[in-house]
């Protein structure tokens, strides 16, 4: 479903992504971990072309993302994205945050879009906040709205870019719960996170990145119990020791 083939990315002299090969199957949950600055967010953002790649091949559903002839807006319809800082539209009510793209991009009627929006708000457990503005919600609630906003486009893939990193600790759980449910329902997910518990429990595969490279990829049991690479072991001992 998502295919990286020898993807390279440079920011000027800085080599951000080094020969990335990655394949994500339909229904798979891939969790990407690694130290900050390792390129994991950049890699994620390449999938919907928020970042461009310098060379190599990257296809989503068989469509070359970086081809000039590709209508990127069409590709993006099928890829939901959840950001670290939620990025809800502060001037729109929760419900209007969710209906904007379905109405404007998919051409769904307003009533239909609102019905869908309410369905997903129900699903993430905050249907009562539909008429509120984002600033009236807690961080955890905002992030759940952001997830509902992504889902309302009925995407084939959901991307999560450190979805719990900006949350107060007591709100991390409610967001992870929603993501866990989503994973169980068979959504294809790529998740960049520092939540090792989530990776261990929900991931089909864990990817460890360091200095722009995929250092190791393995099923979570193996990844956490017996990592092959020295760099992975060092990283894990740092993040799991506290």
């Amino acid at each position: 479903m998502i295919d990286f083939h020898k993807v390279e990315k440079h920011y000027g002299h800085f080599h951000v992504l080094k020969s990335i090969d990655l394949h994500v199957d339909e229904g798979e949950v891939v969790v990407v971990v690694g130290p900050s600055g390792s390129g994991k967010s950049t890699m994620l953002r390449c999938i919907n072309r928020l970042e461009t790649i310098t060379s190599g091949g990257l296809t989503v559903n068989g469509v070359a993302v970086n081809d000039k002839k590709t209508d990127i807006n069409k590709v993006r319809r099928d890829i939901g994205m959840v950001f670290q800082h939620f990025n809800l539209y502060p001037h729109k009510k929760v419900i209007d945050n969710i209906t904007l793209a379905p109405v404007k991009v998919l051409g769904v009627s307003k009533t239909e879009a609102e019905k869908t929006a309410m369905y997903y708000l129900e699903k993430v457990g905050i249907a009562d906040k539909a008429q509120a503005y984002p600033s009236q919600l807690s961080g955890g609630q905002q992030q759940r709205v952001a997830i509902a906003r992504g889902l309302a486009m009925k995407p084939k893939i959901m991307l999560f870019d450190e979805p719990t990193s900006a949350l107060d600790p007591e709100m991390v759980g409610e967001v992870l719960d929603v993501m866990r449910t989503l994973a169980k329902e068979g959504m294809t997910m790529v998740v960049v996170t520092h939540e090792m518990g989530f990776a261990r429990e929900v991931a089909d595969r864990v990817i460890f990145m360091d200095q722009g490279q995929i250092v190791e990829e393995a099923a979570p049991e193996q990844f956490f119990a017996s990592p092959r690479e020295e760099r992975t072991r060092t990283f894990l001992s740092r993040v799991l020791s506290h």
Partner: protein, 216 residues
């Protein structure tokens, strides 16, 4: 100081006539310069090729010229190349061009101040660049532009008095005539005119405060 003489019914009516012209010129120019400023601001924000470069030169050129020179240009230079503008049109045109250049920078600044994450959220959901600008960036940017825009509009309203130089019968011009009519009209007339300018502009800023709190 001859207050009674200066504030005769005829004089007051004459001042009101001037105020009327001032308000017409100011509000027409406010609307037109806002439109011009929005267009140029958006073109420069979105870095529309060619248009953006032309806009840059235009804004830099106009911003660095005195408004008085632009008014002169409209009134005295254009007729020499066959473009004849009425007094009021010349004043409105000059103000629109000058203030439009200023406002375009306010608009551009307001748009640029909107968090990049907002654009990413819009674009990643499949909205086009134009849709993202219209539904997400512009509404948020506009709110932040209100205070500097109102300052600019107040400047504009006061700058209409510069049209006295081309004998447009606006408030300042009519005040000058009244002052010339009596021995001791200067202070009473100027006090009244000051009060009028102050009141109109103060109302404008009160209105903007309302707008800000409503939108906050």
């Amino acid at each position: 100081m001859d207050f009674a003489g200066a504030y005769s019914a005829d004089n007051l009516k004459f001042l009101l006539d001037g105020l009327y012209v001032t308000l017409i010129v100011a509000f027409t120019a406010i609307i037109l310069s806002f439109l011009l400023g929005c267009i140029i601001g958006v073109v420069r924000y979105a870095k529309v090729p060619v248009l953006s470069q032309i806009s840059f030169v235009f804004v830099e050129l106009i911003r660095n010229l005195p408004l008085l020179l632009i008014i002169f240009f409209m009134r005295f230079a254009l007729p020499e190349v066959g473009i004849k503008l009425g007094l009021m049109t010349a004043a409105i045109a000059a103000l629109t061009i000058f203030e439009g250049a200023m406002i375009s920078e306010i608009v551009r600044g307001g748009l640029t101040s909107v968090d990049k994450g907002q654009i990413e959220a819009g674009r990643s959901s499949g909205l086009t660049g134009v849709q993202t600008l219209w539904h997400i960036v512009l509404p948020q940017g506009l709110r932040r532009m209100v205070p500097p825009l109102v300052s600019q509009f107040i400047s504009l309203l006061k700058d209409t008095s510069l049209a006295v130089i081309i004998s447009l019968a606006e408030l300042m011009h009519n005040a000058g005539i009244i002052i010339g009519h009596g021995y001791n009209y200067t202070i009473p007339t100027l006090l009244l005119v000051a009060l009028i300018y102050f009141t109109v502009n103060y109302l404008l800023s009160v209105l903007s405060k309302r707008l800000e709190t409503k939108n906050a």
